[in-house]
Structures are given as structure tokens and as C-alpha cells.
Point group: C2
Chain length 235, copies 2
DNA sequence: CGTGCAAATATTGTATACAATAGCCTGCAA
DNA sequence: TTGCAGGCTATTGTATACAATATTTGCACG
């Protein structure tokens, strides 16, 4: 019933709850777990061979970043963002990302540019491939571009905000994206990186805003009513 | 040992953990709980007459918004933001709040302006009073001004981000604020509200940035070494 | 055949019990 | 007196047990 969830067995210094959180998060962001999927505490616990206590902690954590919706006495579900939420997510990105790229343009060291270039190359490579796994990896790489920008910008708080927004965007695209093409225009990422390389913050900013617009334009934020039905039964 | 924590007994629809979280949050933001204070699970549990389970949930939640620091096998402490963190918090606010006021200027209905005016009046009233309680209430009112702006802006995600930033700012001011005067220049809030009332988004934006600058200028972000010492022993 | 109630089942909410780790205190030796 | 060693206590980490709440199933009745 539950999708396959690899447990990487990589132990961090923090509690085992963190590992569950990370595994679930990755599965959600990479869209292996569909929005609306129920995450039963007992089931997840059995998968990871831990008690419900730890699972609860992980689910609660994920609910704080909006990836999981917990309903009292009903359980946890992979978030199923409404069109309204989707709009808010992208509105938030439009408010936040210009500041990020501006700061990134100011801070970027040559090594940062290299890092970005590597990401873009990887993304490019994956674009050429076929198959579900390649698509997943591409989704991840595409998100990582934005997250790397946030890291370069050098404000860990903003970075965390972006983390949440990118993850939730992935859910939204999974639900409302219509173009068969990749999640994000890869070409636009390249242009942004180029602007950053030349230190042209203003241009990078503008490109980023266009980029976000393009992503959102590709969404079909419904009149669909099939969604509501499904939401009613799944959530 | 622990400061007095009122439990308002107001039951929300959500779990009892939420009430503990809210009570602790309020105590931290209003500076009744000093940064660095240890929050023992057993002690807090006894205060609220609940098991450690719920307390843990609350503490974990607070750690997600940066108000509490949880160290593995050591326990939870009221966050003790470093000067570096303080700078990041205000940098984030400078990146976020202009967008908020711009959106607020666009969205503000007359009733919103009324709400802001009420807040300002309350703030004004409290400024005139003396005593710790008045000071606490003033801190809260000052923060509420910024939060209300975020609410008016109409993006619940940005609102949550601001929630976190305002709360953490309160901690920073508690630690590094030096002016005996109130936390925030009250006068500046009034000017921002006035700009909003006339729909002058550009002006409101500019005033907000100045306002944030003023708050940060009032901080003494150390060469102090007493802080490090205290941090070493308390955290 | 459909509807509504009721017991049964399953799942979550909370508390408690047990395990593991950290910090402290005592006592001994140099 | 100082420094270290060892166990001792206190606190957190995790698992389990019990309680409360939803959901489902089955049956009776219209």
C-alpha cells in the first residue's frame, strides 16, 4: 500500500526521527508519494522499524513545513495544496527570490559559480534521459538550483524559507503542472546563472521573476472539480 | 526556578500540546523567559500537568521556529541568538517586509486601517505607562503591528514567516537592545500606517526599511565577551 | 434495496515505563 | 589542595500500554 521508501541507514548525530523525516520528505518532494496519500503512523513505523513515537515526530515536523497535513484524530496525509495555496506559494517566491538572487549576485565567489554550473550540467544531462528515475532526479536538480542560490545568498533563515517553498512548489507542480516538459525551464536557469556570473544583479532579478512566472503559467489552477472530489475522499 | 507561566485553560480544537506551545511561545516573546533558560521536560510537564510527551511536542515545535534550541541528550533551552543570527534575522526582515507593506498597501481595506489604528492607539497608551507588565504589553503590541501588516498583505505563508521573524526579533532585542526606550520606535509605526492609508506603497516601503534599520541600530551586537561566557555556561 | 443505528475494529492521542546518555559528586591518591 | 576515577543521579530518547476518537461492518427495519 505504501510506496517503496528506502531507508539510507546513514546515521546522523541527531535522533532517528530525523532520518524518517528526511526519507519521507525526499519521497514527497520527488513525488514518489502522491499528494493525499495517507501516512499511517503504524505503517510508517513498521517500514522503518521504529515506534510510532518517532514517526509522529517526523510527521509533525513535516507538517510544519507544509508537506504533510495532520488532522486531529484522523491522521497524516501528504499535503494536497489547494489552488489558493499554490498561488500563495508562488506569490511568496516572487517576493523572496528577487532578494535572494540580489544577495547571491553580491556574495557569489568563483567556487559558487562552479557549483551552479555543475548543477546545471547535471540538470541538462538528465533532461536528455528518459524514465521515471531520470525525471525524479531532474525535479530534484531543478529545485536544487534555487536552493543553491539561497545558500550562496548566505542567509540561513532565508535558505530555510526557500527550502520550504521549493518543496511545496514540487507538490503543486505534481498536482497542477500540465506541460509534459520538465518542471522548470532549464534554459532559464542557465540565463540566471550567466547573469550572476557577470554580477548583473538587476538582470538576474528580472530573469528570476520571469522564470517564476513561467512556472506558474504552466500550472492549470483549475476550474477542475475532479480535484475537489478527490480531496473530499482522500483528505 | 521556572518563571510563572499562566495556562489560560482556553481549549482549542487541537491537541493540548498546542496550548503548551502557545503559552511557552508567549512567555518567550514577552521576555518572561530569559534566553538561555533551560526548559526541562519534566518541569514544564508538571507546570501544565501533562506528560512529557506533550511537552516534547511543544518544545520541538518551538525549535522549528527558532525560539527554542534543543540539544540532543541535553535538553531544550530558550534560544540565545548569536550576533550572527541576529544579523540574519534583520537581513531577512529587510528582504521580506518591503514586499509585505507593498502588498498590504495594495490590499488594505478601510477596516484594516481601523485595525492598525487601534493597535497604534494601544501601543501609544502603553508607552505612557510604567512597569514590567506595561512594557511586556508594549513589546507585544509593537510586534503585532508588523504581524497585522503581514495579515493584511494576505499571504498566509508570508504571514507565518513574519511570525517567526518577529518572535525571534524579540529575543534579539532582549539580548542586545540597549536603548531603555521601547522596543520599536512607535512614531515610525504611525508614519507607516499613514503612508498605507494614503495608499503610498513606495513611501511605506521606504519607511519600513528605515524602521528596521533603526531597530537594528539600537542593538549592541557585541564585541562584548561577557556574552560568550554566559553563552558557554547557559547554553 | 436502501437507510440508519450499533457494535466492532482500527487509528490516533496521551501517559507511563524502560533504556541510554550526560553531568555531578564523592573519594582517593599524588 | 588539586586532579582524576568511578559510580550515582538526573534528564533525555525510545518504546510500549492504555484511553479516546473515528471508521467500518453488519444487521434490523422501513
Amino acid at each position: 500500500m505504501a510506496a517503496e521508501l528506502s531507508l539510507p541507514a546513514e546515521e546522523a548525530a541527531d535522533g532517528g526521527s530525523q532520518q524518517i523525516r528526511d526519507a519521507l520528505r525526499e519521497a514527497i518532494v520527488e513525488r514518489r508519494l502522491a499528494p493525499g496519500t495517507k501516512l499511517s503512523e503504524a505503517d510508517v513505523g513498521k517500514l522503518f522499524k521504529v515506534s510510532r513515537t518517532l514517526v509522529r515526530g517526523a510527521l509533525q515536523a513535516l507538517s510544519y513545513e507544509g508537506l504533510v497535513k495532520v488532522e486531529r484524530n484522523r491522521g497524516a496525509f501528504v499535503a494536497y495544496p489547494s489552488p489558493e495555496e499554490a498561488r500563495e506559494i508562488f506569490a511568496a517566491r516572487r517576493q523572496i527570490e528577487p532578494g535572494i538572487v540580489t544577495a547571491a549576485a553580491r556574495n557569489a565567489a568563483p567556487s559558487d559559480i562552479v557549483r551552479l554550473r555543475h548543477l546545471l550540467a547535471e540538470e541538462q544531462r538528465l533532461t536528455g534521459q528518459r524514465g521515471r528515475d531520470a525525471r525524479r532526479a531532474e525535479i530534484k536538480a531543478s529545485g536544487d538550483f534555487h536552493l543553491t542560490l539561497a545558500a550562496i545568498a548566505g542567509n540561513s533563515i532565508m535558505e530555510r524559507f526557500m527550502d520550504e517553498l521549493v518543496a511545496r512548489s514540487s507538490l503543486v507542480i505534481a498536482l497542477y503542472g500540465q506541460s509534459t516538459a520538465s518542471s522548470c525551464g532549464h534554459r532559464e536557469h542557465e540565463e540566471i546563472a550567466a547573469a550572476l556570473e557577470t554580477g548583473d544583479a538587476e538582470k538576474a532579478c528580472r530573469l528570476m521573476l520571469h522564470h517564476i512566472d513561467h512556472i506558474e503559467t504552466d500550472l492549470d489552477l483549475r476550474p477542475k472539480n475532479g480535484i475537489d472530489l478527490r480531496e473530499a475522499l482522500a483528505i
